[in-house]
Structures are given as C-alpha cells and as structure tokens.
Symmetry: C3
Subunit: 276 residues, 3 copies
C-alpha cells in the first residue's frame, strides 16, 4: 500500500506489486523455469493469477480451490515452466476480493516470447496497460489510466517516421470495456488474448473487455501528433465538478488519452517506451 | 410464475417456460416440422421469438406487427419447418415488455442439428445459458446466473481427461455483456450467433452481448479444477451488504462463476451436463 | 442550435451540422480535393474530426494539438485530398467537450468510394446512424436514435424482394455500445471501421462500440416486416414514467427499433433510403 498520483492534484492510496501501478513488466521465454515469491503486505489475503497461461492447477491463484490464499504477512512461491501455449501478451492480477483489489492496482503486464528478442530501431515494441480506479467513494470505475496515469500525465509514445510499431494493449481494469482509437492511421489487429489471428483485422478501433489484450501493428508513415484514446467519451474525462460537461461548463481531456508522436529523426536512446 | 432460488438465501418470483429458468432445451433437426403451443399463464400479454431463425414472418413473435400478442389465459401455436439456415446454437425468448419479461426468466436454449447426433464419451457437448435478474428493486441487472443459478449454486462441468469439449454459451440476459474466461486453457471460438466462423479464433475470453451465442471448443488435456467466469468482476459477486468489496470487507465469489473439472476417470453416466 | 423532435411529444434543443441530426451525408471519391468551411454558431469552441481518415495532421480536429479550436462565431476551412486509405463507411464529429457536444448531435455520416457509383434497383445501399441523447438532466445516454429519430419515428427500410442489401451502420453516440439484431435473416458482416474483412462473418447481431461502423449485407429473399433493433433491451425503450417496465406497467417499444420491410413489388422511386 502506497500513495499513487493519478493526475495533477489527485493522489490515491494504491495496492500494487513492488510499489508501482501497474506492477513490473515480466518477460519470459519458452523453456524458462519461473519462480516468483509473493510476499503479502496487504491487510487482506491475496493471490496471483497468471491470466491466459496454462500453469499447473496448483499455481493458478484461485483462492480456496487451487491453493490457499496468501494471508497478510504470508508468502507463496509460484513456480511454472514456460510453454509455447504461453507465448504472447498477457497480464497477472489478484484473484481475491478482486473487483476491489484489481481496481486498487494489483495487476501487471507479462510478455512471453518463443525465444529471446533484440530491440531494433525500426521496430518499436511498446505497450500500454489500461486500467481503472474507483475514486471518491464510487462503486464503479470513474478514473481511467494508461500505465497508471491519466491524461495529461499519461506518457506519449514517440516513434521515428517509417518505423514498424507493435502496440500491445492490456485492459487490466475490473469492469469497463474500452474502445481504443488511433487517429491518422488504419492499424492491423494481429493478436487477441495473446493468440495470433489467422486473419488479421484492419481497423481504427479495437475493443478490449476486462482482461482482454490485443496487439496492433502499423507503419508510422504519417507524420504528426496523433491522438490515441478510448472512444467511450466519458472515459476521456477525469472526475471533476462539472461532470461530463455541459453547455455552461466545458471539461478538459483526461483519462484514456495519449498521443503517438511520429517524429522525423530519433535515436534509439530516445525511444523510451520500448519494452526491451 | 413460480418461486425460483438464485443462490443460498435468495428466492425470487420468476416468470418462465414450463416452470423453470431457463426454459427447457429444445433440439431440432433440419426437415422437422415444429409445432409448439404456448399457453400464457402470465398477467401480461407475451409472445415467443425464435432468435436467429428465419421462421415465416407470422411466426416471428413481434407483437402487433407479425402477430397479435398472446393475451393472459390465451394461447398461440407456433409452427415452422426447420431449415439449414437454423443450424446452430440459438435461444428463444419473450418479445413483449421484454426488458422486464426477459429478465424475469422468459428464455430458453435451442439447438438445431443438420441431422440426428449421438453422444460419445470423448466428445462432450455442453451448454450454459447466461442471464441476469434485477433484484431488490434494481432498474438494471444485478444478479447473474449460469443455467438459472448463481455461484456457488451454478453447476460445474465435469469432463474426462482427453475429451474434446464443445461448450455452447448463450447470453439470454436483456442488458449486460459478459466476457467469459476459462483458466488453464486456450480455447477455440468456432461459431458465433450459431454460424461457423470461416477462421476460428483462439482465445481465453469470449465476449457475449445480449442475445449473442458462441460455441467454443478445447481438448481437456490439462487436469484440475479450472475456473470459468465472467471477467467483468462485479458480475462475479452476488448482491449483498458489502457491495463490491472494500478494504474493510471482503466479498465472496458469486454470480457468473463455475468450474470445469477435468478428471482422469469418468464413465458416460457421470457426464451430467451432456446436452443429449 | 435548433429544436429537434426525437419522438412524439419529446423535443430537445440540439446542436448539429446544417440544422439537422445527424449532419448531412458526405460522399467523396478517391482523388477528390475536399474543402469544407465550418462556421461555428455554437456558444462553445468546436472542431471537426474526420474519424478513420488519415488526413494531414493539421486537419485532424484535435483542439490545442493539431489546430486551435474554432471559437464561437469563428470559422475554419478543412482541406484534404481523398486517398484509398479513406475508402469505406465513416463519420465526422466534434472533438471538443465531446462527451457533451457529440451527444447534442454534432456528428454525421461520410462514405468514400474508390470511384463514382451508380444506384441499381436490385442493389440497395442504405445506412443508419445510431446515436444517443442525454435527456431530462441525465448524465448518461438515455434516448437512442436511428438517423436522429427514436421508434416509432425512426424510418423503416423498404426493400424489394430479391434485392441485395448493403446496410451501413454507424454508432455515432458517445458512450454506449449497441448490439444490432435483424430478424428473419442471417446477414454477412463484410466491413468493420470502413475496412473490408478478409473473412466475412455470418451473424444475426453486430456489436458497435462508440465510433465503430459496420457494413452488413443480405439478400432480401424472406418476405415480411422484419424487426431490426438493438438487443440491449433498455435501448429499445423511450424514457418515461414506467422506467424499463414492470409487472404492473408494460412499456412500449421505442429507441433503437425499426423494420426492414421486404415487399414484392417496388419501383426505384419508392426506395427512399438509398444513399445515392
């Protein structure tokens, strides 16, 4: 449990892995033997579920069924071998009291590769974890985040002109579906839930229900600052005194808004969001 | 109208077909001449709509347009011949005052086969009807059911290790979309709305809007008890004093939760959910 | 700003393009040079975003980023050349204070063709813009419209028996997803977001999140009046004293309901909804 700033002026008490929201990016390769020790410093029992990954049943994180929930101050060691079934974009999250615990920040991204990958300047491999918080006593999600931050704090994605971009999207929120839309481009949806589509889908929006992931790709051949946002328009507003806006009061952009900034010249050191 | 137990301690007054929620499973074969007499014992007019099936227009169940609604104490005989267009997983439901009548229980599953099928031990053909009730005076769905029961009353699906499982899912609820997720497996979405996909989609979640159906298949080669649940996490909680949970109060799993129990040895008599 | 009748007895103050909701249908052909002057007669700044179309960055309509919002009484000229990337079914809409402005009526349909098309009697090319208003002080959409009108005011689609129908659907609403269902037919989803699917999907429902478009086709070989409606059943009710209905009070069909009327004989003059 730690303080976490969502956007300017709003800080919440978050529950998260390793003191951050989302938790750290885990990257595994097929054949690897994974061992992760989870120390529970929360006031409630918790578990970790490896969503989309066929781990042995006793490592699956369903409390009272596959193993006992980890009590406060307790710990548990998750162990599994990475298999080809696990290749792709996934996430991990709590499976205890989960509508609450997940929306406090207990999730993180996880990528499995067939074999080790090497970053290349012209191939950007970036990701955004989309999530929600319930703030101000709300019973439903009302603050929406990209990598733990709402616009204008959400980090933009800078890419060099001409690069091939793979953007991995993970909806780690507990309740809401999001319809992510990129301006200035038709992208290709190549993977859903971590699984390659036999026939990729060309689109400018991709719908992500809770827990769903998608990989989209595009070639950054249209220069400029292109908005990337959820098209459920009340997900692009931070909670405030003027609600969702009116004729009397305009509201600023917030929540699930960021920009893909396609710039002519860029060195590999400037590519801050590359997953490698 | 009859009393119907949703989960331990909660019983509602349901409206349903033949005194059950969902209504009885109807199974037809192409070429069959169907004749179904509906006696209306409700206090309101009603009709039956054969969703996804191109019946003759005067059998379509739209009140005041394709035929007069069946008045209380009245009856109507639906008659149609089963055509190849109807093959697949469908459902039937009321089309009168329907946001209310459907969420009282007036729906049921319907499967059409090209020709008669015979159950085989290594091929499980099971189904779940997903639905919602509005309880405690709620204006929106707040209790969610698998085959008319919420967890922990929802029936588990036991399958023998190695079996090929076809799981037919029908969202018969009036309002909410559900994101059904199976642990421990990648499944294949082979059919949507009763129609085979030209290219099946591999996934671990399947999204079902109101009235949508999906057939998913997987080979039960990963032993254990695997959770199968909606990943909209407030759909996995039964209405209660602690809402959706908090730091002070944990809530139990409920609603759209069940388990696929993959067991080593199993006789055909033990397969209770086979549709045949 | 102008008065706009949603359904019998309910008139709202709308904001729209050219005094209508939705705005006028724009039709372009590849190679065309488009020039559109927007005069802002609203009490707030506004912009126009050409959704799904890779226009030059300074024509993209994102206020304060790609260009300054058009102030009240100001104007801006949007200029771009139509490219092959733009072919398909799209829409345009405001991108300022947009959860409010869009749900006041600031959107319109837009179709781009590879080359000029000529209407033919046996090929119906029709469209419906689906949208939502927030009426009676609601903070979320509660009145739902087809081409700016709720049932029973929404216009029906009359087609001659045997015709091939392409129905373009645009969800221009700000918040809700819709699950459009056609009775009496299996249709083919051939295009999403304006992009042809490599493998068309056969279905009887199509889900449209905010801003998403779909083209569906079917051959009108089943005569009769076939309901076409959203299967989120509280989207088929106009706001009223009896809410979503009850055992004591039935509610009439409203909102996202219309009919496809397949009639034996029809002259080309009678086809009122053809886009040409």
């Amino acid at each position: 449990m730690f303080p976490w700033a969502l956007y300017p002026g709003v800080k919440v008490r978050a529950w998260g892995y390793n003191g951050q929201v989302p938790g750290p990016l885990l990257q595994f390769t097929v054949g690897e033997k994974v061992e992760i020790v989870v120390h529970n410093q929360l006031p409630q029992p918790t578990t970790v579920h490896w969503h989309g990954m066929a781990v042995p049943n006793d490592m699956d994180g369903v409390p009272g069924v596959t193993h006992r929930a980890i009590p406060p101050s307790g710990h548990f060691t998750y162990r599994f071998t990475v298999t080809p079934q696990m290749i792709g974009t996934h996430h991990y999250h709590s499976h205890v009291n989960d509508d609450f615990q997940v929306d406090k920040g207990l999730y993180g991204p996880l990528i499995v590769d067939a074999s080790p990958v090497k970053a290349q300047l012209k191939e950007i491999d970036a990701l955004y974890v989309i999530s929600g918080f319930k703030i101000g006593g709300s019973e439903s999600e009302n603050a929406f985040l990209l990598d733990g931050k709402a616009y204008p704090q959400a980090q933009a994605l800078e890419v060099p002109l001409g690069a091939t971009v793979r953007l991995r999207l993970i909806n780690a929120g507990a309740e809401e579906r999001h319809v992510m839309h990129l301006h200035g481009y038709t992208f290709r949806i190549v993977s859903l839930d971590g699984n390659p589509l036999k026939n990729a889908i060309d689109a400018n929006t991709v719908t992500l229900g809770p827990s769903q992931t998608a990989d989209i790709i595009f070639t950054a051949n249209n220069p400029g600052k292109w908005m990337f946002h959820c098209h459920v328009l009340d997900h692009t507003i931070n909670p405030g005194p003027y609600g969702d806006g009116s004729a009397a009061h305009m509201v600023d952009m917030g929540g699930l808004v960021t920009f893909v900034d396609v710039v002519p010249h860029m060195s590999s050191k400037q590519i801050v969001r590359h997953r490698g």
